[in-house]
Assembly symmetry: C2
Homo-oligomer: 358 residues x 2
């Protein structure tokens, strides 16, 4: 198979982890005789430094011309603590999501048995958990009009949804539920928000077309609680952009660490694959970051964008073996981990490659 | 002390649990020679059924005329599944918050040692956790303009904050931090939202006036994660209405159950005290609800509105003893609980009264 892949390393630990995602792509290409070509582009803080623009036109053009995108992370503490900054790294990420029509963000919560003890939740609460989040990604308060009054004393963001936006992602979520556990939980705040009432209406209507899927509606506050209390009860979770941002980060603790979670953003065109963790500037450049989320992002790319299931499984199996043999990065190590098997980013990437080679 | 207390039982399990809150007030009044008088009023679904209005004028007048309000819960599944309903029980609660100027919602996450095992989090993660949430309660997307397009295909809610709204609650949170662990974590989404950028600006400015308080800013997604990962790191958490709704429900799992958490809403006038749990219609009228959150709401009322610290402590001590002796309602029972000590609402209320008496 011939594919052209754009790598956007981004900020902080982004470059360190995508290096290993790319290395795994190269290994898979060699083993299975695929012809993967690569390009690289700037986004985020690094792009602002180089061009003044968090998403340079060149990056967007390269993105549109590629078959899939492997992304690292964006963000920098410099902007976080300066609420008045006009240009921000995150604008690059939000703009590329919008421009590529990446309206569906899939975040699978995978549970590696070996990591049950790394979570702050009890193993018996976790065991058997298998959730696939569908987070809407191009609407909501993220993209609604933002205003600041002239005296700067009033600020607002418009939380807004159109019927077609809810419909298209809900369809994808229902279809996924059909081939999984046949359960869908739609999360909103319909007891307070008009946009949530539209959301619920649309999901209720669509549900009739999927009678084989058991559909439930839950308020976001309750969902945030149930996710800790009894994560096993969820199968497919469908929710809006902001609620999805919050719930999936919370759910990362089910998998033991953010360092283990990958996400796929799909929609009208090129698919976009990234870890759910952020740029983590506090550990950047220190060989501490966990490269597994980037490697798992590559597995998602192979499966979802290229339909290469066997290759994807080869990757998750290699990670499984790495963990079974006791290797850990710092974020997923616990008191019982053999100190000699706590690896840095580089050594962990190499380990996975070794297991891939068999 | 002479005080006039309005009881608003509301919907679902509201009446069952407030009965015991009130019984505890009466017991305390008798023991300490206070003269507490009571009135009762309608709100929520029951008020809609009786008057067509979720917050009848009479209730609002009685509320304004009282020294403190003990509230149960509002909500009904009937409206939840009907996104087009114009009149809803929750409107009563939102309106009374606004009308009474209850802008600060205090939600202490108390940890009873005896309940460490009832949580889905590991005891070693929980032990030592002591968080006081300050949730803003009269602004945000809850009260911003709601719109539905004529074709009903577009819906929006305005997320909006004014400087003075952030200032007044932030001050209360900083003051609380000064007499607690001297740490304040302000939660927002300033990397995306303009209203959060205003929020962060105001908190940053105010922080200068409280140099003895260590101030931190955290994004809501990260906060939702850290709360599960390492709840001990938080002392005072300050956040907006929507984010606070989500985070405090999530945090209820730290305390083992929603059935254990009380909240105080304060501001310009009369204080308002309620469990953080909802109306739970699925168990209403079955003598299953946990009355402890309502009883703890009464303890908060005595301490915060009336300054009666000793009386408040007497109540939490009585609950402590009840739990130490092994008594549990279903929601906080676990595999190790003596079956004979799993009590219904009524028996649990009686037990607390017994321990209060001596
Ligand atoms: C960086 C930020 C804008 C982004 C978001 O909120 O969507 C991130 O948290 C994510 O979840 O991808
Ligand atoms: C009932 C609902 C409107 C309310 C809210 O969202 O504020 C409740 O969840 C709460 O937390 O008090």
């Amino acid at each position: 198979m011939k594919k052209h892949i754009l790598v956007i390393p981004g900020d902080g630990i982004g470059p360190e982890v995508t290096t290993w995602g790319k290395a795994v792509l190269e290994e898979i290409a060699a083993q299975y005789n695929h012809e993967f070509t690569y390009d690289e582009a700037l986004m985020g803080h690094v792009a602002i430094e180089a061009t003044g623009n968090p998403l340079p036109d060149e990056t967007l053009e390269k993105a549109k011309a590629s078959d899939a995108i492997l992304f690292g992370a964006v963000g920098h503490a410099k902007y976080d603590n300066d609420p008045s900054a006009k240009v921000r790294p995150e604008q690059g990420l939000l703009k590329i999501r919008k421009e590529l029509g990446l309206y569906a963000n899939l975040r699978p919560i995978m549970l590696f048995d070996e990591l049950l003890d790394a979570s702050s939740l009890k193993p018996e609460v976790l065991r058997g958990t298998d959730i696939l989040f569908f987070r809407e990604l191009t609407g909501d308060v993220y993209f609604g009009e933002k205003k600041r009054s002239e005296d700067r004393n009033t600020a607002s963001d418009l939380m807004i949804y159109h019927r077609y936006e809810v419909e298209r992602i809900a369809k994808k979520a229902f279809e996924a539920a059909q081939v999984r556990g046949k359960k869908l939980c739609s999360v909103d705040k319909a007891n307070v928000l008009e946009s949530s009432r539209l959301w619920r209406e649309v999901v209720q209507e669509l549900a009739k077309q999927y009678p084989d899927v058991e559909t439930e509606h839950m308020f976001i506050d309750n969902a945030a609680m149930q996710l800790v209390k009894n994560p096993k009860k969820f199968d497919v979770v469908l929710t809006a952009n902001l609620f999805g941002d919050i719930l999936t980060d919370e759910a990362s603790q089910i998998a033991g660490s953010m360092g283990m979670l990958a996400s796929a953003s799909i929609g009208d065109g090129t698919g976009f694959f990234e870890p759910i963790h952020g740029s983590a500037h506090d550990i950047a450049g220190q060989d501490k970051a966990n490269p597994l989320a980037s490697i798992l992002s590559v597995a998602l790319m192979l499966e979802i964008s290229f339909g290469l299931k066997e290759e994807a499984k080869k990757i998750t199996d290699a990670i499984d073996k790495t963990l079974k043999d006791g290797y850990r990065t710092g974020d997923i190590a616990d008191a019982k981990t053999d100190k000699a098997k706590i690896l840095g980013t580089h050594a962990m990437g190499q380990k996975v490659l070794e297991y891939l080679r068999g």
